[in-house]
């Protein structure tokens, strides 16, 4: 049985285990081998601790669970308020699931300044989890900004040739966008006297916020801009390809796997949660941008000569699905959006790991320097194919479920959105399979590739979990969806009322 004390503390524990590990690493001696093992241990500990959440989660129950709410700073009224629902719970688990794999995949590829690398990685994990569990707007912003520095440093120190440019671009894009969110949060605080998400939500719904009628649209935009840059939504996506291409493999995995989801999670939780009416008014152009993102991302991915850039653009396309699902305001759309977030985290994370493995062997991402790789690296090719198919959306693998749900939600909202979005599925099959063909099939075009070693044990250990997760998520999506569903219903409640109001008129 789960004790009440553990229930209150578990989120704090899950959030700060990595940070505690990072602090220990700071004082640890510079012995790279032991540091790697230690980081692996800490991240695994975090993962197992986080498994407590889904195991003891009351699935049918709506609202937040494992809540902890204690005052932190008296003035302004800031609370250390944490809690999760079905949506954020899985994002937390996704984060803790990917981090040990990041440690494994960086085992050999990071050989300079190893200690700092793992410190930054663990700090980043804490900040990411913090974003998903915070229910106090201030605390949320705190973690939100805190993700920025370790990620920028990971890109800027451990990245490839143009790493500094990419790191600065990443930092400035997201920093500039999030100050708008800060302004909106401060406005809400000035009018309501609290940062508590639930309290502000109640105040807004009860119409107790002075001046909200006029400011609502601006507040919505303030939050939306910060999230849209993070997602990234077309046309503010330009930082992403640079950041991905230059980032080290672990950085890319967490960037695509979790960081981008901060944006879509934010839209779901805050834009929909706090500003339902404004969300509805703005839904039209947002969905159009999402569809442009889906198609544009796919088309650009198709012509990329660089493997990693191709995967980066595919992320833009996939995240377009998430935004499309969220702003369809349908049960299926939101369920699907959440599921795509998780599925994309697993399969794109795996794709970046696979790309990184190839880079370690050949020091290039250039698709043209490969060809016929299936011959020297059969196991690698099998993994790659499996993950590619998962990403394409093959039924029984994880990509299919989410995209199917999103599209059926989009059709309910408006048929043309569904139809246009559906082309994205075809595009993704085109660019991914074409890429697969060029890299793996045919004769070996470059002699150096003949002697490439296949996956070693460590790499296989890093890849197996993603493959297994992709399969289980495809076969038994209900394991995930039955926790997501009540949370989505709660998020949609104001929209149902709104819709019935419209119908009633």
């Amino acid at each position: 049985m789960n004790s009440p004390t553990l229930d209150g503390a578990i989120l704090t524990l899950v959030t700060f285990i990595p940070l505690a590990g990072a602090l220990l690493l700071i004082v640890a001696p510079r012995r790279d081998r032991e540091i790697r093992w230690f980081a692996l241990g800490v991240s695994l500990l975090g993962f197992f601790a986080s498994l407590h959440l889904p195991v003891h989660f009351a699935r049918a129950q709506a609202g937040f669970q494992y809540e902890l709410n204690v005052p932190w700073i008296p003035t302004p009224n800031i609370h250390y308020h944490m809690g999760i629902d079905g949506i954020s719970m899985w994002l937390v688990v996704l984060t803790t699931f990917l981090t040990p794999l990041c440690v494994l995949i960086s085992w050999k590829s990071i050989h300079d300044r190893v200690k700092e690398f793992f410190i930054l990685l663990l700090i980043l994990e804490t900040a990411l989890i913090g974003v998903f569990v915070s229910l106090d707007l201030f605390l949320f912003y705190f973690f939100w900004e805190a993700t920025l520095i370790p990620m920028a440093l990971l890109i800027g120190i451990y990245g490839h040739e143009r790493r500094v440019y990419a790191a600065v671009k990443f930092f400035l894009y997201t920093m500039v966008a999030s100050v708008f969110m800060l302004a909106a949060i401060l406005w809400l605080y000035a009018k309501t006297g609290t940062f508590d998400f639930v309290a502000i939500q109640t105040a807004i719904r009860g119409g107790q916020v002075a001046g909200f009628a006029g400011a609502g649209a601006w507040l919505f935009l303030g939050f939306f801009v910060a999230f849209a840059v993070k997602v990234p939504l077309f046309p503010v996506h330009t930082w992403l390809p640079d950041a991905h291409v230059e980032a080290p493999t672990a950085g890319s995995v967490l960037l695509a796997g979790v960081l981008l989801k901060m944006g879509t999670y934010g839209m779901l939780r805050f834009n929909l949660g706090l500003f339902p009416e404004q969300s509805r008014t703005n839904a039209k152009w947002i969905m159009v941008l999402a569809i442009i993102g889906i198609i544009y991302g796919a088309l650009v991915a198709m012509v990329q000569p660089n493997l990693k850039k191709l995967i980066a653009y595919s992320s833009i396309s996939h995240l377009g699905f998430v935004v499309l699902g969220i702003f369809s305001f349908t049960q299926a759309g939101l369920d699907g959006a959440t599921f795509v977030m998780l599925a994309h985290g697993v399969s794109t994370g795996a794709l970046f790991m696979l790309a990184g493995i190839l880079y370690e062997r050949r020091h290039t991402y250039d698709i043209a320097s490969f060809g016929g790789i299936a011959t020297p690296m059969p196991v690698y090719a099998t993994f790659f194919l499996f993950i590619t198919l998962a990403s394409v959306g093959l039924p029984l693998l994880n990509g299919f479920v989410g995209e199917f749900l999103v599209l059926s939600g989009a059709f309910q909202a408006r048929a043309v959105y569904g139809a246009l979005g559906a082309t994205g599925v075809i595009w993704s099959a085109c660019y991914l399979l074409w890429m697969y063909q060029r890299v793996f099939f045919g004769k070996v075009t470059h002699d150096v590739n003949l002697s490439l070693p296949d996956l070693n044990g460590r790499e296989q250990i890093a890849l197996w979990p993603t493959a297994v997760a992709a399969l289980i998520m495809g076969v038994a999506p209900l394991l995930w969806l039955n926790a997501i569903d009540p949370a989505v219903q709660t998020a949609l409640a104001p929209f149902v009322q709104l819709a019935s109001k419209v119908v009633g008129q």
Binding site: I73, P76, F143, E145, I149, A167, V176, A183, W187
Partner: protein, 486 residues
């Protein structure tokens, strides 16, 4: 004051109310007396230690003042309450940190130490007095004590041309600006018949405000605006900061500013200054924007931080436009946070600059993360705090200021502010990028961190983190102090 008040001599408690000033002056005089007596080669360390003890004693004296009942002294010219004690502690702590930083700096630069430490202490006397003075003429005298000390200190690297330039420029423009302030005081006396801030406040609050009072406030604001380097009175800042010795820049960009902001708070809020809002609005917006834009193109870290200090004066002034109940505590908190992070920055700079301040360009900082991880990590902390990243004091400082502005419905000014802080992120980031992501240009190891500097970094780093993690206590104290001002 009437002849009868002159006859009653000050009582014991009244001396306690200027205790930090007395302590600092006494130690300053002792240093001046000892200087010719001790051996030149060994004097630096010894006189520095005396100065350090003096500043620590002044901190203790300020602490002791909290035990005494608040009240006025010396015919209502000085008032000691939570408000002035707050600024006393900021000023004296900064003084201690600057003295700790100077130990090594004086040796490396081969500067004569005698009057240097005495001047730092005398400057601190003026600053402490400024924050507790409630009478305009005394404020003027305190301002001059503090300014004259910093004029001389700015030119202390006397063998270097730009240092002399810095001093002369600062002196000429500074005197010009204080003249404005004095003229404002005179006009205010003409408009209200008093130089006591409380009486001015009563008069201005009671009846129609004469035009003369508006002019007086504007002139006083010019003088004080110059001292805090607010645009459009900021032109001197980069040149003076570039030439002055690095620890002194850390000193004069924080302590006198804190004191002048205390004066501004008293003049603007306690005296119910007319026309406050639009005056502050324009100056704050200008300072933030010009400061940040100017900093974008700097290659010398001292000039970069000079422009950054202009921008920070602008953020701070935003709080002055807000309502007193939230604006005054926000401004006080910002002063403390800014003092902690900026004095820390200059401690790092003065160590790294080495003999003759050779290494002060951004290029010199390339690869510092590898060459001296501790130095780079602490500088990163201070720079992140200047950007306003969470868990640092700079974050809460900006946060309180902007939320105070929003409570007063200053949406326009807040938007200008947050956009500016995003622009500001760029140039601080350039330094961090240099330190961690560029290869070092020279492989010579950075000199190890001596004890004094280590202590200085520890104090300012601790203060920056403390204000960023547990800002509640300091803000509560500032709130209780602000309540006394209205």
């Amino acid at each position: 004051m009437t002849p009868s008040t002159l006859q009653t001599l000050p009582q014991g408690i009244e001396y306690v109310r200027i205790l930090p000033e007395i302590v600092l002056s006494a130690f300053g005089i002792v240093i001046m007396l000892l200087d010719p007596l001790v051996d030149q080669r060994r004097s630096s360390r010894m006189l520095g230690t005396i100065a350090l003890i003096g500043s620590l004693a002044a901190i203790a004296a300020s602490q002791y003042q909290t035990q005494c009942p608040p009240g006025t002294a010396f015919w209502d010219m000085v008032r000691v309450d939570a408000f002035s004690i707050f600024f006393h502690i900021v000023v004296t702590t900064v003084t201690a940190v600057v003295i700790l930083t100077s130990f090594e700096y004086m040796d490396v630069q081969q500067l004569h130490a005698g009057e240097y430490y005495a001047l730092v202490l005398f400057g601190a006397v003026g600053m402490c007095l400024m924050s507790s003075a409630v009478e305009l003429v005394l404020i003027f005298i305190a301002l001059e004590i503090s300014s004259i000390s910093t004029y001389i200190l700015a030119g202390y690297r006397r063998r270097v041309a730009i240092s002399s330039e810095s001093s002369v420029k600062y002196f000429l423009l500074g005197s010009f600006a204080t003249a404005f302030f004095l003229y404002g005081v005179a006009l205010m006396f003409g408009a209200t018949g008093s130089t006591s801030i409380a009486k001015i406040g009563e008069t201005l609050n009671a009846g129609p405000v004469p035009l003369l009072a508006y002019v007086a406030i504007a002139l006083m604001f010019v003088g004080l605006g110059f001292k805090v380097a607010a645009a459009p009175f900021h032109i001197w800042t980069p040149d003076v900061y570039e030439g002055a010795p690095a620890p002194i820049v850390g000193f004069m960009s924080t302590a006198p500013k804190a004191a002048v902001f205390a004066v501004l708070l008293r003049v603007l809020f306690e005296a119910h200054a007319p026309g406050r809002l639009w005056l502050i609005w324009v100056v704050a917006a200008l300072s933030m924007t010009l400061g940040n834009i100017g900093a974008l193109v700097q290659d010398n870290i001292k000039r970069l931080l000079a422009y950054s200090s202009i921008a920070h004066a602008g953020y701070l002034l935003v709080a002055f436009a807000a309502l007193p109940s939230s604006g005054i505590p926000a401004a006080m908190f910002y002063t403390a946070a800014y003092a902690a992070m900026n004095v820390g920055c200059f401690a790092v700079i003065s160590h790294f600059a080495s003999a003759g301040e050779r290494r002060v360009t951004l290029e010199d900082y390339a690869g510092l993360g590898r060459r001296s991880p501790i130095l780079a990590a602490t500088l990163t902390l201070f720079l992140l705090s200047l950007i306003g990243i969470p868990i640092t004091g700079g974050f809460f400082a900006k946060f309180y200021v902007f939320s105070a502005a929003l409570q007063a419905d200053l949406v326009g000014l807040t938007v200008i502010g947050v956009l500016n802080s995003a622009v500001g992120a760029y140039y601080y980031l350039r330094v961090i990028v240099m330190m961690y992501m560029r290869e070092p240009r020279e492989e010579t190891p950075v000199a190890p961190i001596p004890f004094g500097l280590g202590a200085a970094l520890a104090i300012s780093g601790f203060a920056t983190l403390y204000l960023g993690l547990l800002p509640g206590r300091v803000l509560e104290y500032a709130r209780s102090a602000a309540a006394l001002l209205r």
